[in-house]
Amino acid sequence: MIVLLLAGDLQPHADESNYLYLAACWNHFGFYSDAVYYLWPPAYPFVVAVALDWFGAGGVFALKLFQVLVSGLLGAVIMLTALRLFNRRAAVIAGAVWACYLPLIGFTHYLWPETIFLAVFAASVYLFLIWWQEAEDADTHPFRLLGAGVLFGVGLLIKEVALYLCPVLCVLVILRRTRLSLQNRLSSAVLFVLSVAVVVAPWTLRNHEVYGRFVPVGATLGKNVYMGLNAYYYNLDYPSRHRPQLAEANDSLQKLLVGDPPPAWLPDNKPNIIDRLTRSTQQGLEFARQHPGYTARSRVKRVADWVAPTSFFLRHYGLGRYQGVLAEPGLRRPLFIAAVFLPVLVLIGAIPGLLLALRDPTGRMLLITIVVYVAVAAAPLMGMSRYRLMIDPFLIVAASGFAAGFGRPWWTRKAAAICVVAAWLVLAILWWIDCREVIEYLTMVW
C-alpha cells in the first residue's frame, strides 16, 4: 500500500496498455476481443473492465488498490503453507519475507494479472496440499479437493500458464502410493479435473463458438514461441534502450550462447488468430529441430535470465517510471538492494528448504513438481524474471522453512545434501552467466 501511494500514477507500459485496451473495448462493444498477438484468458481484462465501468479513469487506481488487498490474501496463504509444512517460526519468517519482497510488491501496482493469479493459484495449491496430506479414502475432505479444483480453474481464467499442471497433478495423485486405494486415487483425480472443468468449460465453449477451434482458456503459447524458439533473443527484464549496452558488457558469453543465430522464421498471416498462433508453435518446434545446437545453447541463457536477481520492479526504475519520492536516491538505493538481495537469499535458501528441511514427502513432492513444471514450461521460452513469479511464493515458504531450522544437523542425509550442493553449483553457474549484465544494469540505474 505504501509503495502504491508513493508510486503515484504510473503510465501504462507494454501489456498494461493492451489490458486497458481490451477492457475499454469490452465495455464499449459489449464482448471480449483479442489482443491481436494473443488471446488472453478473460478474467483479468474483465476485472479491468469492471473497474473502468464503475470508476471511470479512476478505475486504474481502484484496481491497484484491489490488487493490494488481494496481495494480502497471498501473504496469508504463504504463511499458512509455511505453518503447515514447517512451524510457526517459519510462518513468521515467510510473512516477513513476503512483506518485503519487492518483485511481488511491484505487481500490486502494475496492470498485470500476476498478483490476482498468484493469490488464487497459491490458495488452490494450499487446499490441494492439505487434502493430499490427509486423504485416507475418497470421502476424506472431498470439498477441499473441490475447492482446490475450482480455484485452479479460476486461476486458469486469469493466466493459462498452469494449464498443463492440472494433468500433471492428476497423474501424480494416481501414481503416488498413499493410504488411498487405486480406485480412490482415480476417483479423486477425476473429481479434481471435473472441478477445474466446470469453471473453465463455459469459456472453452465460448471460444469454440467464436473461433471454431478448441481453445481451453487462451492462446498465448504461439507468440511466446515466436519470441522464444526463434533466432531472436530478448530479455524483457531490461528496457530496450539498455539492451545493446548490456549485451556489450556481457559480450563473450552472449556471443557464445545466443550469437550467430540461424535465419529467423516469420509468423504466418492466417486470419484466424488460433490458427495463426498454432502455426507459430509448429514453426518454433520445426526451428528447434532444424537447429538443435543453437536451441540448446540459447536455452542455457534463457534459464540464466530466469533465475537472475532482476525484476520488473527494477525494470520500472530503468524505464524511469518511478518519479517523486520513490526516485529519490535515499529511498531508491535501499529498495534496489532489497529487490536484488532478497530474491538471491530466497533462491539460495529454497534449495535446502525443499530438499532437506521439508520432511513431509507430500509437500515436498507437490512443491518440487510445481517448480520443475514452471522451469520446464516457461523458463526455456522467455527466461525473464516475471515467469519465475509463479513459484516465488513456494520458494519463500521453502527458504523460510530452512531459515527457521537453520543449524539443525540435516547434513546427515547424504544423498539429499549432495543434491543441494549440486543445485547450488548449477545456480552459481547460471548467475555467473548473467552477472556482468546484471551488475552493469544495476550500475546504470543506481
Binding site: 486497458l20 485496451y21 462493444f29 471511470g56 470439498f143 476417483s187 466446470v198 468449460a201 465453449l205 488468430i273
Partner: protein, 152 residues
C-alpha cells in the same frame, strides 16, 4: 439354552459425499454444454444480425464471422462497405478488428481524418491506434479522454 442369533441384515449402503460431488459436477458440465450448444449461433443467424440487428449485435456478428472457419474476405471493398455502413458502432469495430490490419491502415486513417476532433473521431483514433501494433503506448490521459468521449 441360548437362542441362535440371526445375522443382522446389512444396512443399506449410502452414497458417499464424493459420489454426489462427482454426479453434481458432471450434471453442471452437461448443462453448460447443453446451453452452449443450444445458444450457438449459426452462420445464417449471424449474417442476419449483420444485416438487420442492433448495433451491438451487428458488431458481435462481425466479430464472430471474421474469426470462425469461414472468414469473410477481408478485402478493401468489404472494409469500405463497413466504414460506409452509417452505423457508428460497426464502423468503430471495423477500425479495431484484426482483419482490417491485413488490408493495411490507409483506408481507416483516411476515414479517421474525416471525423476530425469529434467524440467519435477520438474514439476511433483510440481504437485504431491501439488495435494496430503495440506502439505508441496508451497513456492515462488518453484513456481518460477516451472514456469521456464515450459519455458524450
Amino acid at each position: 439354552m441360548k437362542k441362535k442369533a440371526h445375522p443382522k441384515p446389512a444396512p443399506p449402503q449410502r452414497r458417499s459425499p464424493g459420489y454426489w460431488l462427482h454426479a453434481a459436477l458432471l450434471l453442471i458440465l452437461a448443462i453448460e454444454c447443453a446451453v452452449a450448444i443450444a445458444g450457438r449461433r449459426s452462420r445464417a443467424g449471424l449474417e442476419r444480425d449483420l444485416q438487420s440487428g442492433t448495433p451491438a449485435a451487428k458488431a458481435y456478428a462481425l466479430f464472430v464471422l471474421t474469426n470462425r472457419d469461414t472468414p469473410r474476405p477481408p478485402d478493401a471493398q468489404f472494409v469500405s462497405d463497413l466504414l460506409d455502413s452509417g452505423d457508428p458502432l460497426l464502423r468503430e469495430w471495423t477500425m479495431t478488428t484484426n482483419f482490417t490490419r491485413l488490408t493495411g491502415s490507409t483506408m481507416q486513417r483516411t476515414y479517421l481524418d474525416s471525423l476530425g476532433d469529434s467524440p467519435q473521431g477520438l474514439r476511433c483514433r483510440f481504437l485504431l491506434t491501439r488495435g494496430i501494433g503495440q506502439t505508441p503506448w496508451m497513456t492515462l490521459p488518453e484513456l481518460a479522454e477516451f472514456l469521456d468521449a464515450l459519455e458524450e
